[in-house]
């Protein structure tokens, strides 16, 4: 992420960290099922774009579930 992007953050409305955590499990399962998680959980993708910590945990959960098969 460039410095300018980091300073300005996502343009779209976004969830906070708590709501992101609350929806993350469902979001990742929908992603891995090939469904559209952004319609069901609006604002979560924008938060992942703006919050490095939540983004890292999203990537980890995806990777862990992928490993589980």
């Amino acid at each position: 992420m460039s410095l300018i992007d980091g300073l300005l953050g996502p343009e779209e409305p976004e969830l906070g960290c708590d709501d992101c955590f609350a929806g993350l499990d469902r979001y990742v399962e929908l992603e891995l099922a090939g469904e559209d998680p952004d319609t069901r959980l609006p604002g979560l993708r924008a938060h992942l774009a703006g919050c490095l910590a939540c983004r890292e945990e999203h990537e980890s959960l995806r990777a862990l579930l992928a490993e589980d098969g």
């Binding site: 300005l8 976004e14 955590f21 990742v28 069901r40 609006p42 979560l44 703006g50």
Partner: protein
């Protein structure tokens, strides 16, 4: 983790799958079944914590394997407390195991970030943070990029509060993890992110009003 922002999650009707229902029933029950479920849950959380710490080997370079495994156990223990404390929140919108995993990943990631910064003083936001910006590779965009950066420098100095400025620059320009800054300030990741979010909104509004950024959706914070 802290305060919410503008977007909210819509309500949904959950349908819990049989395996998840069995987990919840066993953990909410009593006796030997509960003890066995607690053991299985801890093993599950420990696996997730080890998985996260293995992904962060680079960040934890120099940490002996035994200490890394202790860290995984601490993360699993704390995640277990979180799962049990919030068991009533689980509504079956995902599999129970996926829901539980995220607690262990959060705990392990947070502990790893904090350990990596232990004994390190947090860097002050660099005075000349604008110099950290990557120049746009396209020559035709260079002037526009420079103009945007100059406006951002002014906006950061003049539009943000001192608290917003310090948090935003420490995290974005100083690359200090949110969890680490939250721990040093005795606050939460969510509360600090809210500060960053509000600062970003102010900057966007300022740049839109200056005609430097398209953004009809931006509302005044």
């Amino acid at each position: 983790m802290g305060a919410g922002l503008a977007a909210t999650l819509p309500p949904v009707e959950p349908v819990m799958d049989p395996e998840s229902r069995a987990w919840v029933a066993a953990l909410a029950g009593e006796g030997g079944d509960r003890e066995a479920a607690l053991d299985r849950l801890h093993a599950l959380l420990l696996r997730a914590a080890r998985f996260e710490l293995a992904r962060r080997r680079g960040q934890l370079a120099g940490l002996p394997a035994a200490e890394r495994d202790d860290l995984a156990t601490q993360a699993a223990d704390d995640a277990m407390m979180g799962v049990l404390a919030r068991l009533g929140d689980f509504r079956g919108l995902s599999r129970f195991t996926t829901w539980a995993y995220k607690f262990a990943l959060l705990e392990a990631a947070t502990k790893a970030r904090r350990l990596a910064w232990r004994d390190r003083e947090l860097p002050r936001p660099p005075e000349d943070w604008v110099a950290l910006a990557d120049p746009d590779g396209r020559p035709e965009a260079a002037a526009e990029h420079a103009e945007l950066l100059a406006a951002l420098r002014t906006a950061v100095a003049e539009v943000l509060t001192a608290q917003q400025r310090e948090v935003l620059l420490t995290v974005v320009a100083g690359r200090v993890p949110l969890d680490v800054l939250a721990e040093r300030r005795g606050t939460t990741r969510g509360a600090l992110y809210k500060t960053i979010h509000d600062a970003r909104r102010k900057l966007r509004v300022h740049l839109v009003e200056a005609g430097l950024l398209a953004g009809e959706e931006v509302s005044r914070p």
